[in-house]
């Protein structure tokens, strides 16, 4: 059923390696080591890739749905955090991904839900104003955080996580076509590192099963 994930995982592995080598990451001995990106061989699941070493959380400052400045590192420090790059004029994968997370989150104990940060960064900042983003995200979960800002800033942050997005493009008929990321990055509350990558075919069951572990910073 998950045949699609094989090339996806391979592409991801490549992009993760490229992204890491491009930012030079790690110091001394670490930088010469190949990046250990491994699929979860234990359970045979391919909706998930475990990243070792993890991605550094991008230094990203944008505007939230209330029009306020939002510093990702500062505001999500020590919090289990799920980060996704998408846009609201997206009929399929963006709402699917956010719904999967919203449904899974509701199954956590209330106190644990409050610790979790779910951050949706728009890839279509021109159309996704703070207000537009806010009304869309509220339909999914009122606690979800929506961020918008300069496309170049957003693209740069995505690239640091091996996620490739292109600027929105105007078609001949006037419609605007944007790109969404195909992964959700989970950051550990213990290290603040991005240690898990969920691919776009991760289901609501995957998130429901894994969120209790993620909020503890454990490997699912």
């Amino acid at each position: 059923m998950r045949k699609k994930t094989l090339p996806l995982a391979a592409a991801l592995l490549t992009s993760a390696v490229l992204a890491l080598s491009a930012c030079g990451g790690g110091s001394g001995d670490e930088s010469s080591k190949p990046v250990d990106v491994q699929a979860d061989a234990h359970s045979g699941r391919r909706a998930l890739t475990v990243l070792d070493p993890p991605f550094t959380k991008p230094d990203l400052v944008l505007t939230d749905t209330h029009g306020e400045k939002y510093d990702l590192r500062e505001r999500t420090k020590g919090r289990p955090t799920l980060l996704y790059f998408g846009y609201t004029h997206c009929p399929d994968i963006c709402p699917l991904t956010m719904s999967n997370i919203a449904v899974a989150k509701k199954q956590l104990p209330k106190a644990v839900q409050e610790k979790l940060r779910v951050v949706f960064v728009t890839t279509d900042p021109e159309r996704d104003t703070p207000a537009a983003l806010g009304s869309w995200l509220r339909q999914q979960d009122p606690e979800f955080i929506g961020l918008t800002g300069k496309f170049a800033t957003i693209q740069h942050a995505a690239r640091q996580l091996g996620i490739s997005i292109d600027p929105p493009k105007k078609e001949k008929d006037g419609t605007v076509v944007s790109t969404h990321g195909t992964e959700v990055v989970a950051f550990s509350p213990k290290s603040d590192g991005g240690y898990l990558l969920y691919h776009e075919d991760a289901t609501v069951d995957d998130y429901t099963k894994d969120l209790p572990k993620i909020v503890q910073g454990q490997r699912p």
Binding site: P91, S99, D201
Partner: protein, 195 residues
């Protein structure tokens, strides 16, 4: 497969006469599709003569597994289904629906949607609309449908004409291609076929 196929063919003709290609829940669920001569497997290599025969042969289309995930807003919804063809080649040229002003056809590549004017339905093959891949995009909905509602969608084919499908509205997380709790096959709703 010969006996159930023939039976399915006969049943389909009766249903088609009665319902003029609009097939309700479950009538054809699990049908093996294809009738006798046309039921050859499309996966093998084909000679030029056979390819020409595919073009000349009448298409036999069957739509199944259609669903529409409950949309976030009335601005936009996506629709999915599989069009299987056990006959000659056809083309999906447009889609219309009571629920939307406009329905457009898209494929997705590397996270980017690309609008298509039409989609080929290969001879003895399938056209697949599924999560993360091709999708039908419904714009400016007349209202926000609820889970359990049914939306009428008409798929217009160059050779086969129009097939009408009653498309069930599913939860936003529904993803039958990915397995899991929501991965169980639909209950037979969202099907239609050519007579």
């Amino acid at each position: 497969m010969a006996a159930p196929t023939a039976a399915a063919g006969a049943r389909a003709r009766v249903v088609a006469l009665a319902l003029a290609a609009v097939v309700g829940c479950g009538a054809l669920a699990g049908c093996g599709g294809g009738s006798g001569a046309d039921g050859t497997d499309g996966t093998g290599g084909r000679s030029g003569g056979q390819a020409a025969a595919d073009t000349a042969a009448r298409p036999h289309l069957r739509i199944s597994g259609a669903f529409l995930p409950v949309p976030v807003t009335t601005g936009l919804a996506a629709g999915f289904c599989v069009v299987r063809n056990t006959g000659g080649a056809d083309t999906l040229t447009s889609v219309t629906s009571d629920i939307a002003d406009r329905v457009t056809l898209h494929r997705t590549r590397n996270g980017r949607m690309e609008m298509q004017d039409s989609f080929p339905v290969p001879a003895h093959g399938a056209l697949d609309f599924s999560r993360g891949g091709n999708h039908l995009m419904f714009e400016q909905l007349t209202h926000k449908p609820k889970v359990g509602d049914t939306v009428t969608v008409r798929l217009h084919f160059r050779r086969s004409g129009t097939l009408t499908v009653k498309v069930p509205v599913r939860p936003a997380t529904y993803n039958p291609g990915a397995g899991g709790a929501f991965g169980t096959p639909p209950d037979g709703a969202g099907s239609a076929r050519t007579p």
